[in-house]
Amino acid sequence: MSLLEIEGIKKHFGSVEVLRGVNLAIDGGEVVALVGDNGAGKSTLMKIVTGIYQPDGGAVRFEGKSLTGRKPDEIRRLGIEMIYQDLALAKQQDVAANIFLGREPTRRVLGLPITMIDTPRIEREAEAMIRKLGARLPSVKYQVGKLSGGQQQSVAIARALTFNPKLVIMDEPTAALAVREVEHVLELIRELKRQRIAVILISHRLTDVFAVSDRIVALRQGVVVSDEPVAQTSMNDVVAHIVGAA
């Protein structure tokens, strides 16, 4: 049994069929690159996995449990995290609040059945996570909107890794980064693999894809057109699959 099993997923928006029966399986500790042209359906597929969209047909299972009908918060609890291309950060909140967004630990107020967010704990644990990642942030109490782009990405990554995920989906994590920052992200992916955490990497940058992936899956017009181990394919083949010339 694979960690994540995607079977015959279909999704349309109005009359536009975005996904037309996608099949894909991912094992624990595997790094799978998902490539494809704009509009091929990569992001839609991932948003179905994370529960933001519901599929029109097909099934998604994670560790054998069906994800259909589950809300995003339940799916996160099962161990699937996604780092969004736009980072999905609340810019007016601080770093610690963003790292714990949606799963704030709470504590009781004066023993009453009233709970409040346990801010000291959040700040402590966020601090530890940031240190573990080696990210340079002024403070976990710093407002995210005032951080640089790279720093903001660190926050998004820290958030994805804080709750011991089993699968991390990264949507274009290197697109907006400088060369040296890209290397950090690729090293992070390798580190996740060493910890047996599976990664789905959506990227247009094929050099990055070839640098870290075990397998490359190409999506075109809503179906998987190729699914090959990285050793058995070449950059030219992948490009050909993406544009439909193969």
């Binding site: 994370t50 529960g51 933001i52 809300k71 995003p72 918060d73 339940e74 799916i75 996160r76 996604m82 969004y84 736009d86 980072l87 999905a88 950060l89 609340a90 810019k91 007016q92 909140q93 601080d94 609040a97 967004l101 949606g102 799963r103 704030e104 709470t106 709970t115 409040m116 967010i117 801010t119 990642l133 080696g134 990210a135 340079r136 942030l137 002024p138 403070s139 109490k141 710093y142 407002q143 005032k146 640089s148 790279g150 720093q151 990405q153 660190s154 990554i157 400088a178 040296r180 920052e181 950090h184 992200v185 992070l188």
Partner: protein, 328 residues
């Protein structure tokens, strides 16, 4: 993760407080200056009874402002506050007066009317995907109209003594509405600043997509927020009715704008993500003090409106200047 130089990272001014605590410092400064200036200008200003007057005069608008604050935190707007205030007061008054319901039921009906109107706003906004501005504008018309229909346009005079105590009583020499106002302020500030409910409201207003992605149930939260805001309008309606001993269908005309002004003066971001109940309290007090002071100085009500408009624009402008500097 980043390659920023330590020096650049450490340039990091000072950590700012969380978005739930945002208080416009400029408003506090304005409030302080107003208090000092008016104490010098008017011999009648600086007295316990006058300060109680100010708090009493601010209570209804303040409670309404707290409702507005929650909705604004989530990037919404509630234009129906004043009309819902009137409808709630009318329903409460009619139930106790014409229908002779016991007063606790009347109070409940008054609050429930507000919550119900708010919930309808919330469902229109989420399920029917009608923009908040339009949904609540529609509610403004319907609630005001219904209040006029139910009363035939005539205020419903006469409330039970227990209810009058809520509006006109003075336990320990302090008007009851002032107690209610300050207690509600404390609770609301806690909820917005310290609980998940409040945090999620702010996050939805900040970045709705992020809220969804992080598993926050945005629709449900929105409905709850509008219900809360309607409930606050219901409470304000109760205070209003109890103060004037009648359910007045024309009560609270354009109060929603004053309530929103209080929230903005207090540092809330009209586009969501940053809001604070304590800030709104200060914003409401700035207006209350200004009005009271100008009354004591015998300045015409026409100038009072100009003064409040000027203070609002001035405070927000200063805030923008500040932000521009931080981002430079």
């Amino acid at each position: 993760m980043t390659t920023e130089s330590p020096a650049k990272a450490a340039e990091a001014v000072k950590p700012v407080k969380g978005a739930g605590f945002a208080i416009r410092l400029e408003s506090l400064a304005v409030l302080a200056v107003l208090l000092v200036a008016l104490s010098i200008l008017s011999p009648y200003f600086l007295s316990v009874s006058n300060f109680l007057n100010i708090l009493l005069a601010t209570a209804v608008i303040g409670v309404l402002g707290f409702g507005a604050t929650f909705v604004i935190a989530a990037g919404g707007i509630d234009l129906s506050l004043g009309a819902v205030l009137a409808l709630s007061g009318v329903v409460g008054a009619l139930s106790m007066n014409a229908l002779n319901f016991p007063w606790p039921i009347g109070i409940l009906l008054c609050l429930a009317t507000g919550c119900l109107c708010g919930a309808v706003n919330g469902f229109l906004n989420t399920k029917a995907a009608i923009p908040a501005f339009i949904a609540t504008l529609g509610m403004l018309g319907v609630a005001r109209g219904l209040a006029l229909v139910l009363t035939n346009g005539v205020p419903v005079y006469g409330l039970p003594d227990e209810v009058l105590f809520i509006g006109q009583g003075r336990p320990f020499g302090v008007p009851t509405p002032v107690f209610i106002f300050l207690i509600v302020a404390g609770i609301a500030h806690f909820v917005l600043g310290f609980t998940r409910f409040g945090r999620y409201a702010l996050v939805i207003g900040d970045n709705e997509g992020a809220a969804r992605a992080m598993g926050i149930r945005v629709e449900r939260q929105r409905v709850l927020l509008y219900t809360l805001s309607g409930g606050m309008a219901g409470l304000a309606g109760l205070l209003f009715a109890a103060r004037v001993n009648s359910g007045d269908p024309t009560a609270g005309l354009s109060y929603e704008l004053t309530a929103i002004t209080a929230a903005i003066l207090g540092g809330s971001n009209l586009f969501g993500g940053r809001a604070s109940v304590a800030g709104t309290l200060i914003g409401a007090l700035v207006m209350g003090v200004l009005q009271n002071g100008l009354n004591l100085l015998n300045v015409s009500s026409f100038y009072q409106q100009m003064a409040i408009g000027t203070v609002l624009v001035g405070a927000v402008w200063l805030d923008q200047l500040n932000r521009a500097r931080v981002h430079r």
